[in-house]
């Protein structure tokens, strides 16, 4: 199942610093939404507000509404929201104390699934889904951190898939990877849109252009422009957007 | 969800409660002595359980003098060793040699005291004590008969015991000196020793001072080893080569033998004084070392 996200008048702060200003937008079901913008523009904060990770940082504050299929995320238990909205981070971060297969199903296990056969089956399923199964089937008991960077990131995606989320947030998932690994992950993301709503933050405009259906351009905490990717890159309506995508930015 | 926070908070608060209980228990139990002797307790030089006259000065004096002499011995040796281990020795060798110094810190106090009784005291009696009298006899501190168990012996034992901590913190402080600054001076044609004295040691100074303070805190509170070699005589001798006593030692020695309630109470008051002194020293040391960390 996949769900849509609706953001209404979202504001976010770190202490005194106002990092997101009145952002309103919708992310469609079974689509990939890319969020671009210069570093420090608030794009990471935006997706961290969606699964309520922003508030786990001391002094962080949020106002506004975020709806997951018309359910207000901020009225719900954050823990249950996070199991419906998965996240993949900038740097691959498999749990160093767990093996490859333990990592793949870490979410299930930590949330109480004990049945070994269920876990093993789920591990296989998600590792296959991310195209890792054939590469690691003989290394399932090695530490998750022993894999290559690209493999680790796919493991982290598998780990997010295993808890069966409806939405997957990705925070620059390829920025620490080489071009070949990046390509594999982009392919994977593109395939995942069949079953999930995907929101990806990227500083790489080519990547946004290649894989996303819609793109949002954020600048200094404000949503400057949001529209179909092709249109946004070919005919930006806002001057700031145009300057940014043509690389004429400070 | 918040239950876990409360549970861990309860454990954390139990540590604060422990600190509070430590202080209040010592305070209330020393009240009889405080009420009876008041401030004269701190300045009276006589400690006589039979006559029930109790003055803390001999022990405060013994504690401070042994600790200060210990620092005089330990600080130069520790800084020297730290410079040697960080600047002149390859890393692998340095790791091994540092481990040897850390072994000293791991040896139980009572074992060092055992060595003190059977090795250091005889050594003090014969060559070292007489040597000190011959060389430094013109100073009153080194006049008079030579005893084996003495303030000096206690100070040497303390010096041995605090060298590891001062060395290790000095090494850490030296290792934080920015490489760039060193290279700058080397490029100007300085010798290695000049780099050490002009760049590295000044830079490391706050860290070293913090380490010295921690060493002092350790020396002041040290009990067994010094009890076994200091001679346990509650007096303020003119000579460092005569026996003395410290706060910790007199408690160790007399607490289980104390028969009168006032004697016990006086001993507990000594414990309170000792606790307060070490707390003050340790807080100073932490503040200095924390500022160090913040500076980096």
């Amino acid at each position: 199942m996949s769900s849509e996200i609706e953001i209404e008048d979202l504001n976010a702060w770190f202490g005194e610093k106002h990092v997101l200003k009145d952002v309103s937008m919708e992310m469609e079901k079974n689509r990939i939404t890319a969020i671009i913008g210069p570093s420090g523009c608030g794009k990471t904060t935006l997706i961290r507000c969606i699964n309520r990770m922003h508030e786990t940082v001391p002094e962080a504050r949020v106002e506004g509404r975020i709806l997951l299929n018309e359910l207000d995320v901020y009225q719900e238990d954050p823990v249950s929201i996070r199991s419906r909205i998965g996240m993949v981070f900038q740097r691959p971060n498999p749990f160093p104390t767990m093996s490859v297969s333990e990592n793949a199903v870490a979410g299930l296990k930590l949330r109480g699934t004990r049945d070994r056969s269920v876990l093993a089956e789920k591990a296989k399923e998600v590792l296959m889904a991310v195209g890792l199964w054939d590469e690691v089937r003989n290394e399932l008991n090695k530490p998750g951190t022993s894999l290559s960077g690209g493999q680790q990131q796919r493991l982290c995606i598998a780990r997010a898939l295993a808890v069966e989320p409806e939405v997957i947030l990705m925070d620059e998932p390829c920025s620490a990877l080489d071009p070949v690994s990046t390509m594999r992950i982009e392919d994977l993301i593109y395939r995942l849109r069949e079953n999930y709503t995907i929101i990806i933050v990227t500083h790489n405009m080519q990547q946004a252009a290649r894989i996303s259906d819609r793109t949002a351009f954020l600048y200094m905490g404000e949503l400057i422009e949001y529209g179909p990717t092709k249109r946004l890159f070919e005919k930006p309506e806002n001057e700031l957007t145009e300057r940014y995508i043509s690389g004429r930015f400070g | 969800m918040e239950k876990f926070r409360l549970v861990t908070a309860a454990f954390a608060i139990s540590l604060a409660a422990l600190a509070l209980a430590l202080f209040t228990q010592l305070l209330t139990s020393s009240l009889p002595a405080v009420e009876r002797f008041g401030l004269t307790f701190l300045f009276d030089t006589i400690w006589d359980p039979v006559m029930e006259v109790f003055g803390a000065l001999p022990f405060v004096y013994g504690t401070l003098v042994t600790s200060l002499i210990a620092l005089l011995i330990a600080v130069p040796l520790s800084i020297g060793a730290a410079v040697f281990l960080t600047q002149y020795v390859p890393t692998r060798t340095s790791y091994l040699l540092s481990f040897l110094i850390e072994i000293i810190a791991a040896i139980p106090s009572v074992v060092i005291g055992l060595w003190g009784i059977f090795v250091l005291i005889p050594f003090m009696r014969d060559p070292l004590g007489t040597f000190l009298v011959e060389c430094l006899g013109f100073i009153p501190l080194f006049q008079g008969p030579v005893f084996g168990p003495s303030i000096m012996t206690g100070a040497i034992i303390l010096a041995i015991m605090i060298i590891p901590i001062i060395t290790s913190i000095t090494k850490d402080a030296i290792n934080t000196t920015p490489e760039l600054q060193r290279e700058g001076l080397v490029a100007l044609g300085s010798t290695r020793w000049e780099v050490i004295t002009k760049i590295i040691l000044p830079y490391a100074r706050p860290g070293i001072i913090g380490g010295v303070m921690l060493g002092l805190g350790r020396a002041v509170g040290e009990t067994m080893a010094i009890t076994m070699v200091i001679g346990n005589t509650p007096s303020i001798p003119a000579s460092l080569l005569a026996p003395g006593d410290t706060l910790a030692s007199v408690i160790a020695n007399q607490f289980s033998e104390a028969t009168s309630a006032i004697h016990t109470s006086a001993l507990i008051e000594l414990g309170l004084i000792l606790f307060v002194i070490t707390v003050v020293i340790n807080i100073c040391a932490r503040l200095i070392l924390r500022r160090e960390v913040a500076r980096e």
Binding site: N51, R111 | Q25, A106, V110, M224, I283
Partner: protein, 273 residues
Amino acid sequence: MNLRTRKMKGNAMIILVALAFVIIMIPLMSMLYMIAIRGIGAISLEFLTSLPTPPGEPGGGVGNAIQGSLMLVATASAISIPISIMAAVYISEYRGKLSSAIELITDVLSGTPSIVAGVFIYVLIIPRTGFSALAGSLALSVLMIPTVTIASYESLKAVPNHIREAAIALGVPKWKTSLFVVLRSAMIGIGTGVILGIARISGETAPLLFTALGNMYWNEGLLQPTSALPLLIYNYATSPYRSWQAQAWGAAFILLVIVLLLNIGVRIVARKR
């Protein structure tokens, strides 16, 4: 100053700092040598397994002191380790004013002189309960808790934040994240701290002097006074009897071997990581 004298001065200083190191090694080597020479000579099966004999009578051993030390250290560990780890989790995982205050208090507590820990437990319980192994263990815990807490929260703080985030983003509750992800990642560091804490309290004497007190016989339970290796070393070393003094070296050898094995073992494990 010309370059030559400057260089000569530098060389003289190398000798001086090397000399400082050598001087530090002299007492250490003397200790290790004496304990080895005198200690090994005193050790036999009887020494390890039998009760002390009255002074002047030949034979006897430190069996009950070994038993007592094991009992004291085990009890103190059972008290200290859970308290320390839970307190450390709070200090590291719930940052705030309270946790910083407790961190500072723990720092200060770690400097408590060992004799003060003994006095504290004495005034707290001995007049009501009498001397006992339990009181000795509590006094040791006063010293062990701050040490293990500091080692634990330092290891917990060293766990990178992205590990916590990974777990929380999976919808794992914070308490499970702290307990099963963060704590598990810090286990090596915490284990090291625990073992060093055990090594430290194994050699402590002062807290036991008027809590555990000592005992010439086998220990029959936590509520009886008990002997311990450090107590025995102290009593024997300061006694006038030659046979007891000789046995003090034997006991010191055993204690030192235990403490050094713990210290070296921890280093080897920690280095492999």
